[in-house]
């Protein structure tokens, strides 16, 4: 049933579910139940709520707290358009020419709560332009950053957002960088850094990559498919 040692040994190289063995053509009982448990945890993580006050305290700098036009989690899941929009009457300070940093729950708040402070500590001192205010956003989609950046007159918006929970990781953080943010920008006009978490990208790697992309965006005057990630890889 279980795979032989040499096959199980493949697990040294990856967190993927390799070397499971088989029962006939199916997965053995233990592997099947491990999967069921991980799925249950991931389902629960989707409904985890962002603790804005605790996050602001952990960031150790003042932040603007807001939510999207989506009233609650269920509406957020079914109406992505509302998650990209600010509620009517939202007023934000102007920060022309700055880089606005938005910390948002996205599809899972766990990773944001856990990793955003550490990434911001490394990223903020390295920004190539003045940092604008930090915004904490709830029930937010990536494109909410466009509305926020536009309202603040930002040169660029950097969105740190919770990634969709998977079975192996329910605490993954993503960063989306959009130059000259304004409503209606498409995903082809952003650059993305994903899988920031233990077992994925480290805080330092993520901050270095974001800084590289921001400098390149500043030279090019654009983000997205026009900005090729040609950053040299660190020696292994």
């Amino acid at each position: 049933m279980t795979a032989p040692a040499q096959w199980r040994d493949l697990r040294r190289f990856t967190d993927a579910r390799v070397g499971l063995g088989r029962a006939g053509t199916a997965q053995p009982t233990a592997a099947h139940l491990d999967f069921q448990e991980a799925h249950a945890r991931a389902r629960d993580a989707v409904w985890s709520a962002l603790d804005g006050a605790a996050l602001e305290a952990a960031l150790a700098r003042p932040a603007i707290r807001l939510r999207s036009a989506a009233a609650d989690r269920r509406e957020y899941l079914l109406r992505p358009d509302l998650g990209r929009r600010l509620p009517e009457g939202t007023v934000l300070p102007h920060a022309p020419g700055s880089i606005v940093l938005v910390v948002a729950d996205g599809l899972c708040a766990t990773g944001v709560q856990r990793h955003a402070p550490g990434v911001l500590d490394l990223l903020m001192p390295a920004l190539p332009l003045p940092a604008g205010p930090v915004v904490i956003a709830e029930q937010a989609r990536v494109a909410l950053g466009d509305a926020i950046g536009e309202a603040m007159g930002a040169a660029a918006v950097v969105m740190l957002i919770g990634e969709r929970p998977g079975l192996s990781a329910t605490d993954s953080l993503g960063i989306y960088i959009t130059w000259a943010p304004r409503r209606g920008r498409t995903d082809a006009e952003r650059n993305c850094i994903s899988n920031i978490r233990p077992g994925g990208l480290t805080y330092a790697e993520a901050a270095a990559k974001a800084t590289w992309l921001l400098r390149a965006a500043q030279r090019l005057g654009a983000t997205g498919v026009a900005l090729k990630d040609d950053m040299a890889l660190a020696a292994p």
């Binding site: 493949l10 990856t14 993927a16 579910r17 199916a26 799925h39 991931a42 994903s194």
Partner: protein, 457 residues
């Protein structure tokens, strides 16, 4: 031509549909994405009224009444300009309802020969008045065979894309997933990695590693890193071993723009891949992915329902003679396909429409963790697709993609579907499995496939 409204009286109520795209949308079986777009029928009765009215629409009308104007959209221009009137001749006098009956009764050769004469809107229309069993048995009649280093789509085969993704594109982590999949009979469709980043050096590193593994084990298959087409073009310029060019495509010009692609760009990429002459059995060098909801997600849907738009993406794909096309049916999220029932039907619609239009259609049988679905729903969809003759499905270690954070089908699921239905791998790949001693009762790794041979020490 001026759009004439469509009308249908049902139980004393008269339903009016202003134009063809409205009729198609109201006739579409319910899914969350059409409700989100505001184009779904307002009641079950309105939906059936629309289906009855749609059944009376002559197929030929789709050639003159475009759901997105010819002038406004290059996908519409592709559909109209490439239409093959001779291939269409056997069904040109039929209505949508008559076409359904024709498809159910016709022999496989006749259904297969129709492909260049059909438009995506014709395929989408007839699917809307079919049950899942209809979608399955008609799709099973379509023969689509493609080749690069092996032969995909032969009757009685079910191929698997080996998908060994890794959260940081670590070459050894990817290689471990590749070996695990090979040992469980996966990889005849392609060994294809979704890269965690579009970093050109990282993409080239994975391309070289996959090519080395393929070459070391002499596997009759093809490899692919599913980076953006422009990244793959740059990798080709820099000398990377590129077998297949991958790209996500959609059913409107604006959707493709949101993906950062144009039709001429795809043509240029295909020509660059053809020039490398890496295929030994054939020159199908493109790999496309699609999915219901992508146009709405990009706010590029023109008020057309998501299933019709998905079928239009297949018109884009078929222009480039792809080796592989798959819908990522449950990947785009519950705002487009809410639960297991909606994903099941959509997966079978996508496979049906793709096959009817002549594509080597696979399906990523999958769901995300914010959808109301689980592995039981995937088992049901996989079984239905395998009966319907799906060209390939995904093989992910333990069904858990640790990079993309969603669940697909496992290597085990592929083995199970093949075993239950008597399906086989592509013949060249099956012969290789036999030569390597894979798939017997023994559980040990054959010495010829020792992990040490590909650097896993």
């Amino acid at each position: 031509m001026t759009a004439m409204p469509f009308a249908q009286t049902l139980g004393g109520t008269r339903y009016v549909f202003d134009d063809l795209k409205t009729l198609l949308a109201r006739a579409s079986p319910f899914r969350s994405g059409d409700a989100l777009a505001g184009v779904a029928a307002g009641s079950a009765a309105e939906r059936v009224a629309a289906q009855r009215a749609l059944a009376d629409v002559p197929l030929a009308r789709f050639l003159t009444d475009a759901v997105i104007p010819y002038e406004a959209d290059d996908v519409t221009r592709l559909i109209i300009d490439r239409h093959d009137a001779a291939a269409f001749a056997p069904v040109r006098s039929l209505t949508v309802g008559g076409f359904r009956d024709w498809l159910l009764a016709a022999p496989p050769d006749a259904v297969t020969a129709l492909a260049p004469g059909l438009t995506p809107e014709m395929a989408a229309s007839v699917s809307k008045i079919m049950r899942v069993a209809d979608l399955m048995q008609v799709a099973a009649k379509c023969r689509v065979v493609t080749r690069f280093r092996n032969t995909l789509g032969l009757p009685g085969t079910l191929s698997i894309r080996l998908q060994p993704n890794h959260p940081t594109d670590d070459p050894r982590g990817v290689a471990a997933g590749v070996l695990d999949g090979l040992l469980l009979g996966a990889g005849d469709a392609v060994i294809g990695v979704n890269p965690a980043t579009d970093n050109i050096d990282a993409v080239m590193g994975v391309l070289r590693m996959l090519d080395t593994v393929r070459d070391r084990f002499a596997i009759p298959t093809q490899t692919c890193v599913l980076a953006h087409v422009t990244t793959t073009m740059l990798a080709m310029q820099r000398g990377a071993p590129v077998d297949l060019v991958f790209q996500s495509v959609g059913g409107t010009q604006a959707t493709n723009a949101s993906f950062g692609v144009t039709l001429p760009l795809l043509r240029e990429a295909r020509e660059a891949a053809l020039a490398l002459k890496r295929g030994t059995l054939g020159d199908n060098v493109m790999y496309f992915e699609t999915g219901q909801g992508s146009a709405l997600s990009a706010e590029a849907h023109h008020g057309v329902d998501q299933q019709t738009l998905e079928a239009r993406a297949y018109a884009v794909a078929r222009e480039y003679a792809p080796l592989l096309v798959n819908s990522v049916v449950g990947f785009i999220g519950p705002e487009y396909l809410f639960d297991g029932k909606q994903i099941l039907r959509a997966g079978l619609e996508d496979h049906f429409c793709g096959k009817l239009l002549g594509l080597p259609m696979g399906v990523d049988v999958c769901y995300t963790n914010h959808a109301e679905a689980d592995q039981d729903d995937m088992d049901a969809l996989l079984a239905c697709l395998a009966v319907a003759g799906v060209t390939y499905v995904m093989g992910v270690p333990g069904a858990d993609d640790v990079m993309l954070a969603y669940q697909s089908t496992s290597f085990h699921d592929g083995l199970t579907a093949r075993a239950m239905l008597g399906k086989r791998a592509a013949p060249e790949f099956e012969a290789w499995l036999d030569r390597m001693g894979i798939g017997g009762d023994g559980e040990a790794i054959p010495a010829r496939l020792s992990p040490a041979l590909i650097g896993l020490t």
